[in-house]
Structures are given as structure tokens and as C-alpha cells.
Symmetry: C4
């Protein structure tokens, strides 16, 4: 079973989720408030939109990077991928909720921010499980040495811990929590997803190129 259709379906979900994010930007139309004021007062919608767009975009890049190294997929991976997509699909809801409540302050803003970070954390954990399952069950074209897997886990886990911190911070300052999820997105831009780490340290043991496997 190759990963072509899993990728096509996932790309569809990523594409729809990232595009309908912008539906939440809509302004109310002509009324007592000028357009400039409306847009200014909607800043949480634009901020949340930008963070969510970046986060979905980056998880897509990492999904792409992970699956192009897959040698095969099984039924369990299809369902682990569905779990990831469950959180991706929830992002537009979480985004519109934080956009609506960020300026309310108090419990509502904190809860909205905690949901927002919670969905990102769920997405991040699902991706981690997908990665962990892949290297454990040898679904990858490139072999991971224990050291490389450990390093990859640590580097991936930093963002994960960041989202947990952002959930806690949501109850102190919802806006600060939104800023943190923006910083985590930037962290994942510069950080390569770990699937390509091992090429050089274990050139000999890479199963895709050794003569007896081909």
C-alpha cells in the first residue's frame, strides 16, 4: 500500500482547513462603524488567522517531509493520520473562538486561548505518534539510529512542550499565549522535521541503498 492517496486526502483536508480560516475575517458590512475601525477592532481575528495559517502550513510541510520517506503504510497509519487530521479540522473552530473572545478578557478569553493551544497540542502529539510509529515499525526508507531518533524526539518535543506551556499561560494572559504559538510556528520553520537526519551518520546501514535489499 503506497502513501499516494493518504497524501492526496490529507492535502485536501489541509487545503480546505487553511482556506476556510479566512472566512472568519469577514467584516459586518456598511454600518455605524467605519471599515478602518472594524478592521482595527478585529485585530484578534487577523492575528489568530496568521498564527493558524502558519501552523497548518508548517504541519503540512512536515507531513510532506515525513511521508516522502515512507516505504509503506498500513491500516494503523491511516487511522493515526486521521487522528492528526481531526485536530487540523478543528483549527478553524479554535481560531474563530479565540478571535471572538480574546478581547473579552477574563475566563472566556483564557478558555478560548486554552482551546486554541489545546488543538495545536493535540495536532503536535498526533504528529509525534505518527513519527514514533513509523520509525518503530520500520515504515521509513531511511533507518534511524537510536541516537538520531533520540535527537529528533528532543527537537520535535521542544515545540510540543511549548504548546503545553501556552495552555498554562492562556489562563494568565490569553494574548501572550497567542504570541507563544506564533513563536512556536517560527521555531518549526527553521527546525527540520527529523525524518531526514540520519542520512550521513549511518550511511552504511541505510536499508534503501544496501545491495542485499535492492
Amino acid at each position: 500500500m503506497d502513501s499516494g492517496r493518504l497524501e492526496a486526502f490529507s492535502d485536501g483536508v489541509f487545503a480546505v482547513a487553511i482556506t476556510i480560516l479566512a472566512l472568519n475575517l469577514a467584516v459586518a458590512g456598511p454600518g455605524p462603524e467605519s471599515l478602518a475601525d472594524q478592521l482595527f477592532n478585529h485585530w484578534p481575528a487577523f492575528a489568530a488567522y496568521t498564527v493558524s495559517f502558519a501552523t497548518i502550513g508548517i504541519i503540512w510541510v512536515n507531513h510532506h517531509t515525513l511521508f516522502k520517506n515512507f516505504s509503506e503504510i498500513d491500516r494503523t497509519l491511516l487511522f493515526l493520520n486521521l487522528l492528526l487530521l481531526f485536530f487540523v479540522v478543528s483549527i478553524p473552530f479554535a481560531t474563530s473562538t479565540i478571535a471572538a473572545y480574546l478581547k473579552s478578557g477574563g475566563h472566556d478569553a483564557s478558555l478560548a486561548a486554552a482551546i486554541f493551544q489545546g488543538v495545536f497540542e493535540g495536532m503536535s502529539i498526533s504528529f509525534g505518534v505518527l513519527f514514533w510509529w513509523s520509525i518503530r515499525h520500520e515504515h521509513m526508507k531511511v533507518a534511524f539510529t537510536p541516537a538520531a531518533a533520540r535527537r529528533a524526539t528532543i527537537r520535535f518535543g521542544i515545540g510540543n512542550v511549548g504548546y503545553i506551556a501556552a495552555i498554562g499561560i492562556a489562563f494568565v494572559n490569553a494574548t501572550a499565549s497567542l504570541v507563544i504559538s506564533g513563536l512556536i510556528a517560527i521555531y518549526y520553520i527553521f527546525e527540520q522535521t527529523p525524518a531526514r537526519e540520519t542520512a550521513s551518520p549511518t550511511a552504511d546501514s541505510s536499508p534503501g541503498t544496501s545491495p542485499q535489499d535492492g
Copy 2:
């Protein structure tokens, strides 16, 4: 005619349907009711969303499993697939209807739940017809022995009967009927779609797998 584009179009429909499910989760925004209360009172929306997400996800997995065994498709299959997609496309409507009416109780809740289960039953029957047509007209790469086809039909049919039962139960208790469709989704996770059943009983005649490959 290969199945590539049928799968691409179907994947698109599955992806859009599964993603717009979440549009229904949207809360009303700041008002007299706190966000926590709003979310708590919206539990039918979250419950129905989860069941529908799981059901579309699983039907996608089964669609994927079925079509990767197709050797060819014909015009009739394109239209049988469209019939399946007709019910898939109706799921967001059925989901938002049950979410809106589940707490109303009485006839409205029962009717909403019956529509919800009815759409799932329609999807399930369409999928069954697609499968039945495929093995009858020899569109599959793996041959089905009569025994394997019979077993597959029974195992697939159990979920189908479950949806019919859920329609009836909808008129007694709408919430119980929603729980049943969640259980059917779990049943289909663990149950392999029947298209891969024949490998062992007909090892010799299975064209795709020579003994040294297994």
C-alpha cells in the same frame, strides 16, 4: 480507464465534507452566556461532529482499501461512486440538524436522529453496492472465492443492520441512536473492509502475490 481520477475527485469530496463539519461547532460570540456554558450546552454539536468525522474517516479508509484492488473501472462504477458521494455530501447537513435538535426531544429530535442514521445507512448501502458490483463484474485484482465473498458480505452487513436498528431506535431515544452510530464507527475501525480477504484461501490463484513475495 484507471481509477486515479475517481479517487482524486472522491478524496476531494471526502476532504471538503470532513472539514466543513467543524463549521457547525462555531459559538455565538460574547454575550450573556459564558463561553464555558455555551460549549457545555453545545455538547450535541461536539458529539455529532466526532461521530461524523469518524464515520467519514472510516468510509474513506474503506474506499481507499477497495479501490486499490481495482483493476479497471467503468462508467457504471463512476455513477455508483457518485451515489456514495451523494450521501457523503449530505453528512454535514445531517450532522448540523441532529446537533440543533437533539436537545429538543420529542418528534423533532427523533426525526433529526433518523435522518442522521438514514444518511449513514444510505452511504453504507451505496458502498455495499459498489463492492458487490466490483466482485460480480470482476473489476478486482484479487479474485474472491464464493466463501470469501459470502463472509465479507456478512461482516460488512453487520454495520449496515446496525444503522437500520439505529433508525428505529431514533424514535425511542435520539441520544441512544447517536451512541449506536459511534459504536458502529468503532466496529468498522477494527473490521477490515472485505476486499483483502481472499489472500489466504486462494493463495494459488491470487494473481498479485507470488509465494516468494509473501
Copy 3:
């Protein structure tokens, strides 16, 4: 330039358009009117949804059948295809308009029905132009004899004339016009799109199978 990406983009547009059709089915939620009454009073929405679903589904089947015979595409074809997609994208708007106004009767219902049929006619003409350009500029893998092209044009044109008639009938009886577009959809189910007509009459000149080409 092969047609793979043209098909992928078109499939995406078809898939989104066919899926968001169902957004228009949404009922108002609990209120003075029972759910059963709401659904009953919304019959134009369900009727228009069914006709539009069938029409988009069938145009997708025909698009699929046409493009799998393409040997190459050029920039003009990309734009002719965009013209077709322009009308496809307009179908959800036309569908929600006729659904909203069919029961109003009078000028509003007639205008709504005429727009509905007009969008279908635009889609049908665009498809015809796409087909005509393809055989004229020899973009097809199978050659069309003049007789086969003439026959194909006639059979395709019947549905086209049907939509023109339906525009006229819209001003007499909007509901009758909706029924006619449903009948045209059924006509196109049974009618093969013309691209596969020539195999038998010109078996010798078919370029895809002659020895010196392979």
C-alpha cells in the same frame, strides 16, 4: 504539457462545488415550526440540491471521459477549462437562489429559474467549446471522423438545446423548468460523452494503436 494538473485542479473545484451545495440545506433550528414542517417547506432546496448534485456529478464524469483521451494540452485549453469552471463555481449560488425563490412564484421565481438554467447552459456551452477545440486542434489520442464528430455534436447538442428550452420555460413555470433540468441530467447519464465514439468506424486510422506509432 500533460493534463494531470489541469485534472487535479478541476477535480478540486468540482469537489468543493458539489460539497458546498449541501450547506444550503441547513434548517433554522428549534423554533415555532417543527422540523418536519421545516423540511417539508424546504422542498425546493432539496429538489434543487439533487438536480445540481447530479449535474455537477455528470459533468465531472464527462470531463473525466474527455480528458483521458487528451494527448496534450495547451494554454488555450487551460483557459477554456477555466471558463467551464467559472460556471461550475456559480452553481451553488444559482442553486441557493432558485431554492429561495421557487415558492415565491411570479417574476422572482422565473428569474431565479432562468439564472439556474442559464448557468447550466453556460457550463454546457463551455464544455462543447472545449470538445470542439480538442478535436479541431488534434489534441485527442483517438481521431474523430467527420461523421463521428457530427454525430457527437448532435447528441451533445440535444442537452444543450434542452437547457435553452428550460430558460424559456422558466418564465412560464419555474417548477417545470427545474424538472426539465433533472431530465437533462438523466439524459446525460445514459448518453456517452462523444469522445469515445470513433473506435470502431476508424479502427485503421486510430493513431494510438497503429504499429508505427507504438
Copy 4:
């Protein structure tokens, strides 16, 4: 890393964005105003929809033309492409905003038009950066001579300058600015995207085409 999945994801985003443009056309339903009057009064929505549809369609054609010449893609290109998609995803918002405010006149109409043109300008600049990066880092199958690259940059840049002019004109006359973006769309229809320019001047060094193929 080949460009297949980048194209699939981008096609999904283009397809969703171009299709949900039409959601903004929806009329209010039966009321004191006739359907004909409603449609007539909504002319900015139809005009903005047509311009945005054409613009997304054309950027898709150019994206398609650019990427089919790519020999490889890297992580930077994935993120440059995401930047392009960020602006594409913003088009439905910009379109509904100009549609809502064009007839208001004054500051609101100017601001709405400037946002509309600004999103197009952002999309245009992102595409330019994508192109510039591609030829600079030799990601293309066809080599660009300095002269060809210079000519391509000029021809592409004319549209880009057009959008900047349209932003300025938005503050003088919002409707005129909308007309200009329509004219730029027409300009890009007739203007080939520059990626195919070099075939003739460097026939010898063009790796993809041997003389007997041309």
C-alpha cells in the same frame, strides 16, 4: 524532492479559494426587494467575483507553467509557495470586503479597494520571488540566459506595477481601481509566464529538448 505534492496542496488551496468566492454572491431571499433589484444592487459583488475568479485562475495557470519546469524543490521553496498561498487564501476576504463597501464611497470604499489590490500585489510579489529564487538557485529544467531572465522580469513586473498603481487609484476612485485589476487579469492571459522563454535563444544548452524532438 519532486514537486508533485506541493502542486497537489496548492491546487487544493486554489480550488477552494476560487469556489468559495461564489458564497459571497448569495442574495437575501424573498423580501420587500425583488430578486432583479437585489441582483442589480449587488453588481459590485458580481464584478469583484469575476475579477477575483479570473485572477486566481490566471495565477493557477502561471503556477502550473512555472512548476512543470522545476527539476527539484527545497524547503525554502515550500515556504515561498506558502507565502503565495497566504495571499491566495486572503482573496475571498478581500473580495467580500470590496463587494460590501464599493457602493459606500468615501474612505470605506477606498480602503476596501486598496486592501483588494494590496492582496493581489502581495500575491504578485510572492510569485515573483518564487520565480526569482527558482532561476537563481537553478531549480529549473530549462536554463535562463541573463537576457531572457531580464526580459521575463520586465514583462512580469508590468502587472506588478499595475497593482501598485491600482492601490493608489483606489484612494481616488475605487471603481476605477477594480476595473484596472480586471485589465491586469486580461494582460496576464495574453502574456506567457516567463518560464518558457529560453527555448529558442539557448537551443543547444536546453537540457530537456534534443533537436530531433523540437
